[in-house]
Every structure is written in structure tokens, then in C-alpha cells.
């Protein structure tokens, strides 16, 4: 089993998003970073597949130099090696991102064989473009299933479940395939201290792809005004129970 998981470094925001002065990015001075949540599950899944079937797992990211932190995080829970497509901090739109990833995959496959599965998050937490995985799959000529909450590899095929209203749709794809997954696919493990220590020594290959012009070109970011609501305080502590039930009755859900 050779599995690749593609991840993106995203900031961990709090209760309020603050933008940089030029409105081009989120102010991240005091924020930590993590792997985008859907992809975290992809990382865990890749590790589990290799634990189960043997083989090798690889993590890849297109991001700034600091994104190495996310690659090491993935390696700390068991990914074997990393590929870092280093950028200078400018935004890469989904097409450009997919293009660079396709090149990197082709190069790696030429060197050590094809990836049975390439994992993507269904969409990234920040830009939510929803299309990088599909673009990569199309370029590689491989089938792609999206929005997956469960998957089982069986020989040369993968049976996967996509969440839809009222249930789950089941797909069966021949390998090699590209899968985009959702959080909830599994519960990612925390790295152990030895895992963290090993991560620092695992191989990491970096390249610097050239950025093509964006066809979906960012003009600026805007924090939505919000309704400026002032919550009506029904009361304090258990004494508020009567007022709460009044409200529930008023809405019609208290029956």
C-alpha cells in the first residue's frame, strides 16, 4: 500500500477573526496552526491503512516554509515521509494548487511507483474551494469519490461511504483512486513523545514550484458585519428556568 495524503496549514482562530491591514489575510500573530480538520482524518486513515496492509505513507503540503510544522505533525503520528512544495505566502488558487500537486505526484510516482490512494480533505477549513482533489484526480485519470465518512480497502478496490441526507451512499472504486474525506472518518490519534522525536528525523523533500496567475483572484477579505445581536438575558442561574420554559412554549417545542 502506498498512500499519499495532502494537507493544508490553516490558522486556529478563536471567537473573532482579525484581518491584516491590507485585508489580504487573517492576522495570525498570536494564532497557532494546524492541519485542516478534514485532512487530519485523512492523515490518520493513511497511517491506519499502512499499519494494516504494509507499505508506505507520504504527506504533502503546498505552503510556506513554516508548514513543515504540519508535515512533522503528520509524521509524528506515523506518516513515513514528507513532500513540501514551498511557497512564499502568496495565495494559490485551487487550479494552481492542483497543478503543483499533480507535478509532485508524477515525480514521486516515477521514482517509487504509483500511489494506491491519494487522500484530500473534502474542502479546506479556510478557503473551502472543494475542488483540489477532483482536479488532481482528473489530471491523473483516476476515479474520485468525495465527502467520505468511511472506507475499506479490499484487494484492488476501495469501498467507501459518502454522507448524504438520510443515510450514506456506497461507492466502490478500483485502485488507484483519489478520495476526499470528511472529519468523522476516524478519531485521529495524538502523537506520542517518541513519535514526535522520530518525526524530526524522517525524510522531507522540499521543492519550490512557480506560482501561475490566479484565475480566481482574491481582491480582499471582509469580516461579515454580523447581526450585532444583543442577547436578551432570560435570567441568571437555575432561577432562569421558568423564563426558558416560557420561551420554549412560545416557540412550540415544549410539548
Amino acid at each position: 500500500m502506498k498512500a499519499l495524503v495532502c494537507v493544508k496549514r490553516v490558522p486556529m482562530t478563536g471567537g473573532r477573526i482579525v484581518l491584516t491591514e491590507d485585508e489580504q489575510a487573517i492576522e495570525t500573530k498570536h494564532l497557532g496552526f494546524a492541519i485542516s480538520p478534514h485532512e487530519e482524518c485523512g492523515v490518520e486513515e493513511a497511517v491506519r491503512l499502512v499499519e494494516q496492509h504494509g507499505g508506505e505513507s507520504v504527506v504533502l503540503t503546498l505552503g510556506v516554509a513554516e508548514a513543515e510544522e504540519q508535515l512533522r505533525d503528520a509524521m509524528a503520528i506515523g506518516i513515513d515521509r514528507g513532500l513540501h512544495l514551498v511557497t512564499d505566502g502568496e495565495e494559490w488558487d485551487p487550479e494552481a494548487t492542483a497543478g503543483a500537486i499533480v507535478e509532485a505526484i508524477r515525480a514521486d510516482e516515477a521514482a517509487s511507483g504509483p500511489f494506491d490512494i491519494v487522500f484530500f480533505g473534502n474542502e479546506s477549513a479556510d478557503s473551502g474551494g472543494f475542488q483540489v482533489g477532483l482536479r488532481v484526480a482528473h489530471a491523473l485519470g483516476r476515479p474520485c469519490a468525495t465527502g467520505l465518512k468511511s472506507l475499506v480497502v479490499d484487494g484492488a478496490a476501495v469501498r467507501c461511504e459518502q454522507e448524504v441526507g438520510g443515510g450514506r451512499d456506497v461507492y466502490e472504486l478500483p485502485l488507484p483512486a483519489v478520495l476526499t474525506v470528511l472529519e468523522g472518518l476516524n478519531l485521529p490519534r495524538y502523537p506520542s513523545v517518541p513519535g514526535r522525536m522520530r518525526a524530526g528525523r524522517k525524510p522531507l523533500e522540499a521543492t519550490t514550484p512557480a506560482r501561475p496567475d490566479s484565475r480566481l483572484e482574491l481582491v480582499r477579505l471582509v469580516v461579515p458585519a454580523g447581526d450585532a445581536k444583543q442577547a436578551e438575558i432570560l435570567g441568571r442561574g437555575p432561577e432562569a428556568a421558568a423564563a426558558v420554559v416560557d420561551l420554549l412554549e412560545q416557540i412550540g417545542v415544549a410539548l
Binding site: 482562530t13 478563536g14 471567537g15 477573526i17 480538520p37 485551487p94 487550479e95 474542502e123 477549513a125 479556510d126 478557503s127 473551502g128 472543494f130 475542488q131 477532483l134 482528473h138 468525495t146 465527502g147 461511504e161 441526507g165 438520510g166 443515510g167 450514506r168 451512499d169 456506497v170 461507492y171 466502490e172 478500483p174 472529519e183 468523522g184 478519531l187 484565475r215 483572484e217 482574491l218 481582491v219 477579505l221 471582509v222 469580516v223 461579515p224 447581526d227 445581536k229 442577547a231 436578551e232 438575558i233 432570560l234 441568571r236 442561574g237 437555575p238 432561577e239 432562569a240 428556568a241 421558568a242 423564563a243 426558558v244 420554559v245 420561551l247 420554549l248 416557540i251 417545542v253 415544549a254
Partner: protein
């Protein structure tokens, strides 16, 4: 000419599809609709555009996104569409993204506004709605999805005409198709459908601490949700998670207990008609999105509410 891919269920176009039609209208020019799969013909009756194209084929009984994408591309070429719009949720989203890839065009997902022009100006959603992006789209054909519940839907109404057709489908496009439908794992009221959702956040303190949350939800016939912090701590399964990367809920009332109100969590509750926050901190971020609040410890407040409900029921 705008082509809108309309999702439908049980013979009716989905609400978000009607919102997609509204987005297309903002582009100006004539708009056609496209419905694919069984039930399309019935749903087409209430899509008020000049022409509704309905694709029928026995191989389309089960959803196959690549096939849908091929159909979209075919119709788009045929009618000379300069813009293709779809709802930002459901099978149409998957299909339209693949269509964009086939057409060699960028996809702008989850738009909330468009301004026609060259290039097209659009506003789309980031961070599940907590941030907006204004962008220019440099494309031959604009491919857009509309962010659910951000634009008013057009009214349903009869179309000008309905054109049914049977598309040519390549075997390759049927590799990815639904083979089966299974039930979701956990039972109980589905969060997405629940009329009442009671959620616990970090403030609940432990898995056992959810007892008062579960009790109240049960009394109200509602569903129990949780924040990501709870899921990550292993107190509750991910299926209970409400948020940008979890469930999106749209209840009559969302009771958020011990939840601070991080943007990613609120992103999952945008559809809630009302929010009642229970929190010890009157200035927690959730207080600026809540309609009602009780300032207090959920471990005291929720049992009191449950007791009051029981008392009034006699």
C-alpha cells in the same frame, strides 16, 4: 445564457437549488435549468425558467457524478452557456465541480453575491461563513455554486418549456456511481433534521457531564450536539459534532451550553432560527450571536429547566 443544475428529491427542487436560480438571475440574461436523474421530470414542473432540460437514462437511477458532469458539459455546450450555477450542497455540487474540471474552468464555490462583468466580481464564503472573500473570476465560462441559505430563493413556478433528452453516457463516467444506500450509524434524531438541538461544549467538563444535556434534549424530542473540543477530547463521537467540519443544523431553537462560540462552531449553526446560550461568561463570543441567554453554570441551569418542564407537564 446561464445554466443552473437543479437538485431535486421526491419530485421537488431543493431549496438551495432555488437559491442557485436566484444567483443565476443576478448574472442577468436568460437562464435555463438542468435536472438529471429519476424524478427530474416531476420536479421540472415547478422550476420557473424559460427552458428546463431534463436528462433521463436508465443508468442514471443511481447517482454518478462524472456522468452528471458530462451531461452538464454537453448541455452547456449545446445552449452556449456562459455561466453554470449549482447549489453548494448535495450531489449537484459534486457534479458541477467535476464539470468545471472537465471544462478547464475555475470553480467558485459557495458564492453569496455576484456582479456581472468581465471579469466577474463575486463574493464567496470562507471559514464556513465567518469570513467573506471578494474575488475576480477570470474564466471563459463562470462556474459557481451558491452558499446554502445565503440568498433568497426564487419562487417555484411553471417553466416556459421542458425539454427531456437521453444523454450519451461513457462507461468510464459510470465507474464512480452509487452502488448502495445504507443507514447512518447512530440512531436517534438526526442533527440536521432536528427541530431542537441541545449542544454541550468544553464547559460540560467530561463525557459524564453530558447527562443534563441529554436529559433536556430527550424531554424536548431534540438531538444532542457537541463542539469540536468535545469530540477531540473523546467525550462524544464525531457524529454529534456541530460546526464547520461537522453537522450543519437548522433547528427552531439551538440551545448552546458551555460553548464559547468559536467561529468554526457557529458556522454549523447558521441555519438555527433562534439561539439560546447558557454560559457563565456574559461576554463569551457566543453571546453576540445568541438571541437569548442564561448566565449561569449549565450543570445547574439545565436540570432546573428539565425540572420545570416536567412540572408543567404534570
Amino acid at each position: 445564457m446561464n445554466l443552473v443544475l437543479v437538485d431535486h428529491a421526491d419530485g421537488v427542487a431543493t431549496d438551495v437549488s432555488l437559491q442557485a436560480l436566484a444567483l443565476a438571475a443576478a448574472l442577468g440574461g436568460e437562464t435555463h435549468a438542468l435536472l438529471i436523474g429519476p424524478g427530474g421530470a416531476a420536479a421540472a414542473q415547478n422550476v420557473s425558467v424559460p427552458v428546463v432540460h431534463v436528462a433521463e437514462h436508465e443508468a442514471l437511477d443511481a447517482f454518478a457524478p462524472d456522468a452528471w458532469a458530462a451531461i452538464v458539459c454537453g448541455v452547456a455546450d449545446r445552449v452556449g452557456a456562459t455561466a453554470i450555477v449549482a447549489p453548494g450542497t448535495g450531489p449537484a455540487t459534486d457534479a458541477i465541480a467535476r464539470a468545471a474540471v472537465r471544462l478547464g474552468e475555475p470553480l467558485a464555490a459557495n458564492c453569496v453575491a455576484v456582479t456581472p462583468g468581465d471579469p466577474l466580481l463575486l463574493t464567496r464564503v470562507r471559514w464556513g461563513g465567518s469570513l467573506l472573500e471578494e474575488a475576480r473570476l477570470h474564466a471563459g465560462r463562470a462556474v459557481l455554486t451558491v452558499a446554502p441559505h445565503s440568498i433568497a430563493a426564487v419562487e417555484p413556478g411553471p417553466p416556459g418549456s421542458i425539454e427531456a433528452f437521453t444523454p450519451e453516457l461513457a462507461d468510464n463516467d459510470l465507474v464512480v456511481r452509487v452502488r448502495d444506500r445504507v443507514a447512518p450509524p447512530a440512531g436517534g434524531v438526526s442533527l440536521a433534521d432536528a427541530k431542537v438541538v441541545v449542544t454541550g461544549g468544553r464547559g460540560v467538563g467530561s463525557a459524564e457531564g453530558f447527562a443534563p444535556v441529554e436529559e433536556l434534549a430527550a424531554l424536548l424530542g431534540g438531538a444532542v450536539g457537541c463542539s469540536r473540543a468535545v469530540t477531540m477530547s473523546g467525550w462524544r463521537p464525531h457524529t454529534d459534532q456541530v460546526g464547520q467540519t461537522g453537522n450543519k443544523i437548522a433547528p427552531e431553537i439551538y440551545i448552546a451550553c458551555g460553548v464559547s462560540g468559536a467561529t468554526q462552531h457557529i458556522a454549523g449553526a447558521k441555519g438555527a432560527k433562534r439561539i439560546l446560550a447558557v454560559n457563565t461568561d456574559p461576554e463569551a463570543p457566543i453571546m453576540s450571536v445568541a438571541d437569548y441567554a442564561v448566565v449561569g453554570d449549565l450543570h445547574e441551569v439545565l436540570p432546573a429547566v428539565s425540572a420545570e418542564l416536567r412540572r408543567r407537564r404534570g
